[in-house]
Amino acid sequence: MQILAEAEELPKATNIKTQLVALWIAAASALILLVAFIAFPGFWPPMSPELTADQVASFYRDHTAWIRFSMVTFNLCGIMLLPFFCVVVVQMKRMATQSQVFAYCYLSAVVSGATLFALADIFYAAAAFRPGRDPDLILLLNDLGWMVFIAPVGMIVAQNLMLALAVYHDNGPNPVFPRWVGHLSLLTLFAMVPSACAVVMTNGPLAWDGPVSFWLRNGAFATFTIVMFFVVRAAIHRQAIEEGVAR
């Protein structure tokens, strides 16, 4: 995309540029988060909820450095994805044939969801802070970390529901997002809902180390976010061209 020289200094050109910056911040952070994800020994394989307190404590003792590295990285870069979701809000507010109500509710859900996501790494990192702590307490922190990380999908449910409804109601001549984004959004939602069972199950596919609750949930979210990156980028380009900022 080429920003036109004559539009360079206009606010609407800046609006396009800042959206792109937010997009690329999120992309860079996502890469770093991927590294942190790979670096956390507790994800390879995901720790079983059936481990005893002593096993969990010895896990934190044996892998302290890697746990600290990955959780500090999650702490630092996790919420850097937020600008990306804010770009989605900006794009939702552009949808012509609706009242913007979905955009506001989406934003509200994004903020609440982010507070929870910001909490998970704190439990893991606190458990790794003093690996010599009473194993029962390490187990408690580990449980809380896993539960917060996997189970509270409600805000993503709300987010994706609002996004899907917004896309379906955006039925003017120039939709912001293609219609299949709504389908994808709902599909992701349904893939993630079962992981709420992780707060109850200690084994099987729905436990927090199970293929549904862990791999399907996280895989769906990662895929959705990556696809949305390209979808949003294309939407920003269309916005730039519609507003006469770019060619």
Binding site: T97, C105, S108, M155
Partner: protein
């Protein structure tokens, strides 16, 4: 407090392109408000057992027994909360959206959205996590289970500031509004809510009696006032949705 009243559409810019005749998007979001709070009531009263609250003045063993007696319903209830609690964000987001249509500027609409979005964590999710952690492993040490019991109940009933800020923002926005999105009395009613939140602070120092987290003053009166306020807010939200012209948008 206004003599001159703009029509509800007075300040609403109409969407730049073709305006639809339908308000279906508004109604879909509106109905999430009563559905969510209905579910919230059912889950918290019948399943999760935090309303009416368990007693603060019991021994560690009694807390363990309480969890053991209600483990199944707590697990079902709070697992459901993990899925549906996004409804709170949509309900609050819709209130903020209607506040954004007021002539009182966006400041307090954003403040309402922000404080309520933050409040979801201490006021709703933390108790779910604590109780789920306690019921996941009934074999945990009793002292840890007792800690989770206290932590859960205190965060659920004792997270006051987020909501007090939200109510304050709500009241101020209504009082300055000349588009009559919500009636003035709803602002005054929100002042009661702040008062009950202030009184509920006493549950942090009182482990029995009327000011404890299950007390007649700190809990029951506050819950009755909250229930009344929430119903008023829901009804006013319905009326505001009724009056909003199709195709209109909030003010910038």
């Amino acid at each position: 407090m206004s003599t001159t009243v703009l029509s509800a559409s007075g300040g609403d810019p109409v969407a730049p392109h073709a305006a639809p005749a339908s308000k279906r998007d508004l109604w879909i979001v509106f109905w999430i408000f009563p559905i969510f709070f209905g579910l919230f009531g059912v889950i918290f009263v019948l399943l999760a057992r935090v309303i009416p609250p368990p007693r603060p003045d019991v021994t560690t063993d009694q807390k363990v027994q309480w969890f053991a007696a209600h483990a199944t319903t707590i697990q079902i209830g709070f697992a459901a909360v993990c899925v549906v609690f996004g409804g709170a964000a949509i309900a609050n987001g819709y209130v903020a959206y209607q506040m954004k249509r007021m002539s009182s500027g966006p400041t307090f609409a954003y403040a309402y959205m922000g404080s309520m979005a933050v409040g979801t964590l201490p006021g709703l999710m933390l108790v779910a996590l604590c109780f789920l952690a306690a019921t996941l492993r009934p074999g945990r040490q009793p002292r840890i289970i007792a800690l989770l019991y206290d932590l859960g109940m205190l965060s659920f009933n004792g997270s006051l500031g987020c909501f007090a800020t939200g109510y304050l923002a709500f009241a101020i926005a209504i009082l300055y509004d000349k588009n009559a999105i919500f009636p003035k009395w709803l602002a005054y009613v929100s002042i009661w809510q702040i008062v009950t939140e202030v009184i509920a602070t006493q549950m942090w120092v009182s482990s029995a009696g009327p000011y404890s987290w299950n007390g007649s003053i700190a809990f029951w009166l506050a819950v009755i006032v909250f229930g009344f306020w929430l119903n008023c807010q829901g009804i006013c939200l319905k009326l505001a949705t009724d009056r909003q012209p199709a195709g209109s948008r909030p003010l910038d």
